[in-house]
Amino acid sequence: MFDDGQTVVDDQATSKIKLDHVVIRFAGDSGDGMQLTGSQFSDTSAMLGNDIATFPNYPAEIRAPEGSIYGVSGFQVHIGEVEISTPGDDVDVLVAMNPAALKTNHSAVQAGKMIIVDVDEFTAKNLTKAGYAQNPLEDGSLGSHVIIKAPITQLSREAIKDIGLDNTSMNRTRNMFALGMVFWMFSRPLDYTIKFLEKKFGHKPNIFEANVKVLKAGYHYAETLELLPSAFTVLPAKMTGGTYRIIMGNTAIAWGLLAAAEKSGKQLFLGSYPITPASDILHELSEHQHFGVVTFQAEDEIAGIGSAIGAAFAGDLAITTTSGPGLALKSEAIGLAVMTELPLVIVDVQRGGPSTGLPTKTEQADLLQAMYGRNGECPVIVVAPSSPANCFDFAYEASRLALEHMTPVILLSDGYIANGSAPWRIRSMADMPPITPARSPEPGAEWMPYLRDPQSLARQWALPGTPGFEHRIGGLEKEDMTGHISYDPENHEHMVKLRAEKVQRVENYIPELQVDGAESGDLLVVGWGGTYGSLLTAVKSLHEEGRSIGLAHFNYLNPMPRNTREVLSRFKKIAVCELNLGQFATLLRSKFPEFQYLQFNKVQGLPFTVLELNNHFLHLLAKP
């Protein structure tokens, strides 16, 4: 029942089918606990040594009306014994808790693959709500899927009828039944989830007992049910040895910032205003005030960055976190930080735009806003993490660059890697590179506010409270060196160029661009930020098939790595792939106009699928 992309081995000893990777999607009402169910499955799999990637896909409504199409919440898990870089395109097993979940998800399930439904929920009323004229389980419209019609509601209630819960509480355990079934199918142990439930519901013994009973009921149901065609085993992946944990992108950003603060000896200050999908960074750092972190939830986006600029002036490692609309509100203040040449990290977890757009969906359409979205000539460093795990590295790197070069840095994450999770080989603090913040002037030294390091052009950082270095800075144009207000035309042009040069010189302090796959040849795929997993999977598989294809994936967007031009020159064709209408391609055209850039763009609030990338690259490779 599996296509060519998967290795199917019949294992006599266990009579289970082994395969190298599998994609499972849990879908239900936004109140059905699908995110929890999915993350329990992925965490358990990671503990067994599988590589994983997850993709939560949920509506903006917290609790949309039950059974409605727009209230469907999904969580996709991709597990494997091979290296997993994306949450997967095609679903091997779909768990649909109601007709609406089936309606919105069944097209992702290829022919021959499995769909498990809670048949009890397929009532006339729910079918109508989902827009089905007839019951798809009965009219044959689903095609050639393996449909498992499990009476999940009924069996869950049966399992806990003696505990004495009310109807609502009983129904809330149904996700555990589905989880139990899938656990059995993939030979996962229950103990991790039981431990989790104990932690979550330990103070409510009857709820805890009910969830465990239903989990086990689902497990045993799957075991004894003849309808299940077979069971599968996914073997552990071959990953670099070390201590791992599962981490979400937003958590990794928060931890990377904590690490940078500790390494640099600076107090961490976060000024922020809640916004989806960035708020988790505020939540996570607020949990860790014991490290001396100050988290300030401000009255608006502007006060968030305003307070961070004040904290930077006073000597902190200052951060503000936001998403696209918030970045727009912060534009003027970013200009102030550019003018005053203060270190500041602005985290933008991109979402679908423009305006309020698609708050819970992913997109890469803030790139040009990050590059140019301010009045005046206003360059900043722009970097982008490319996976949930390396969010840690790039939050750290953004902090390093800000502190060492005395400039704002925009960190462009996105909703996809922010909420996605993956195994992370934990870095120990000893392994992290040093951070040397811009110097403060020596006591008694001759000093001026805009005295610069001759190499990096970073100015010195004199902190309020230090005697002898009282000075005034602000948003008006500065005279070079003294920092006095200056309206002199020559000075203005000089300062504009100096600020640009300072940012450009950062190229001397960042690594060169690496190419995955072919080092030179027919097709260079270019990407940046959160699309790395999909692009790498597609390029690697084509390269392994012997195609002349390589991937140049950018984490440093401004300035770009020194060898960018040289890398671009090694290939016959260049295809820039991004989740927007071509913003990075525009940037490359303006910086390196001697090359031709093909584009592959998608703006659906969704990540690239490997399949669509594969097809497109094959098409490009086939054309003369």
């Binding site: 965490d43 990671a46 503990m47 040594g49 670099t240 040895g241 070390g242 201590t243 791992y244 944990r245 599962i246 931890w255 904590l258 690490a259 500790e262 107090q267 200050f269 000024g271 860790h288 005030q289 014991h290 490290f291 001396g292 100050v294 401000a298 009255e299 608006d300 502007i302 006060a303 305003g306 307070s307 961070a308 600029i309 004040g310 904290a311 930077a312 002036f313 006073a314 000597g315 200052a318 003027e332 203040a333 200009g335 934990i426 120990s428 603090m429 902190l463 309020p464 409270g465 005697p467 002898g468 009282e470 000075h471 005034r472 800075i473 602000g474 948003g475 008006l476 006095h484 207000i485």
Partner: protein, 334 residues
């Protein structure tokens, strides 16, 4: 602080040429501040002046202290960041009626609500000066300005009311022709723990000259102003023959000896009363116009609450270093 240098006002004057219009009320405020700082018992490097945009906001350039000239309206937010990053600093916000009450109104009310230990000085001249003469949120109904040539149709904020409505714990009002009282009020504002708000009635000689003359001019002020002093009767007039009483419904001006009014009827000012009702009524009173410290109540500051929380968490937390966090919880070996 035995090692505190003997500062004079000259120690706080920067080398920058002051560029306000001749006769501007801002000069008086600058001089009063430079006079007040040596009286505060703090070292020069501990002072930080943060401003927004407008005539008033040039102020930090003229002070030989740490200074930050911000962007329009955002000074309270920037100053909050400075104070939270280093609570030992004496942080001042210099703003105006446009900067602080129009574009920055949101930051103003939230800074006051949180009770960050900031000292906010708002220069109220009822006009936009730097953009050359448009009406502001404190301009009077009917006031003719460049953007209201037929008279302003927007009702004004009474800043004192706004401070009370934002749960302000320190509010003082002072005219710009009284530098001695102003310096004393600045000292009191600095001493007060929490957000201290000082409204200066400031004359703009170019665009709104004489805006406060009817009450603050030297020829009339003894009869028009009520100089509030904590613990003293609310008496006013050259002979202190008039006073303010509460008639059961509102405050009113009365004359001693008329209609059987005696000193016993006159209110005693209590700036420290936690109940803001009387202070609210004082901010609304138009005749006589109260000046001086209307309210000064000590409650925990925002940064104190933060510090207590952090201290407790530090003692309780099992994570001492970031490594402890990174390797905590569910990890596994490959």
């Amino acid at each position: 602080m035995s090692d505190l240098p003997n500062y004079t006002f000259k120690d706080f004057a920067s080398d920058q040429e002051v560029r306000w219009c001749p006769g501007c009320g801002d000069y008086v405020i600058l001089r009063a501040m430079q006079k007040a700082l040596p009286m505060m018992g703090r070292r020069k490097e501990e002072f930080v002046f943060v401003s927004g945009i407008g005539c008033s906001s040039r102020f930090p350039y003229y002070m030989e202290t740490y200074g930050f000239h911000g962007i329009h309206g955002r000074a309270p937010a920037i100053a909050t960041g400075v104070k939270l990053a280093n609570p030992k600093l004496s942080v001042w916000v210099i703003t105006g009626d446009g900067d602080g009450l129009a574009i920055g109104g949101n930051h103003m009310i939230h800074a006051i609500r949180r009770n960050v230990d900031l000292n906010i000085v708002l220069f109220n001249n009822k006009i936009y000066g730097l953009t050359k003469g448009q009406f502001s949120p404190t301009s009077d109904i009917g006031q003719k300005t460049k953007s209201s040539p037929y008279g302003n149709t927007q009702p004004p904020f009474n800043f004192g009311e706004l401070v009370m409505g934002s749960a302000g714990q320190f509010y003082a009002r002072v005219p710009d022709n009284n530098p001695n009282d102003m310096a004393d009020i600045f000292v009191a504002a600095e001493k007060h723990q929490g957000t201290s708000v000082v409204e200066v009635l400031q004359n703009c000689v170019i665009f709104n000259d004489g805006a406060f003359d009817a009450v603050v001019d030297k020829s009339v002020r003894e009869d028009m102003l009520l100089y509030l002093k904590h613990g003293e009767k609310m008496l006013f007039g050259k002979e202190k023959s008039k006073g303010v009483r509460f008639n059961g419904r509102q405050l009113e001006a009365v004359t001693l000896g008329e209609n059987g009014i005696t000193e016993a009827d006159i209110l005693v000012h209590d700036a420290t009363d936690p109940n803001p009702s009387m202070h609210f009524m004082l901010t609304q009173l138009q005749y006589p116009l109260p000046v001086g410290i209307v309210r000064s109540v000590e409650v925990p500051t925002f940064e104190e609450r933060v510090a207590v929380q952090v201290k407790n968490l530090k003692e309780r937390s099992k994570y001492k270093k970031v490594d402890d966090l990174l390797f905590s919880g569910e990890t596994y070996q490959v």
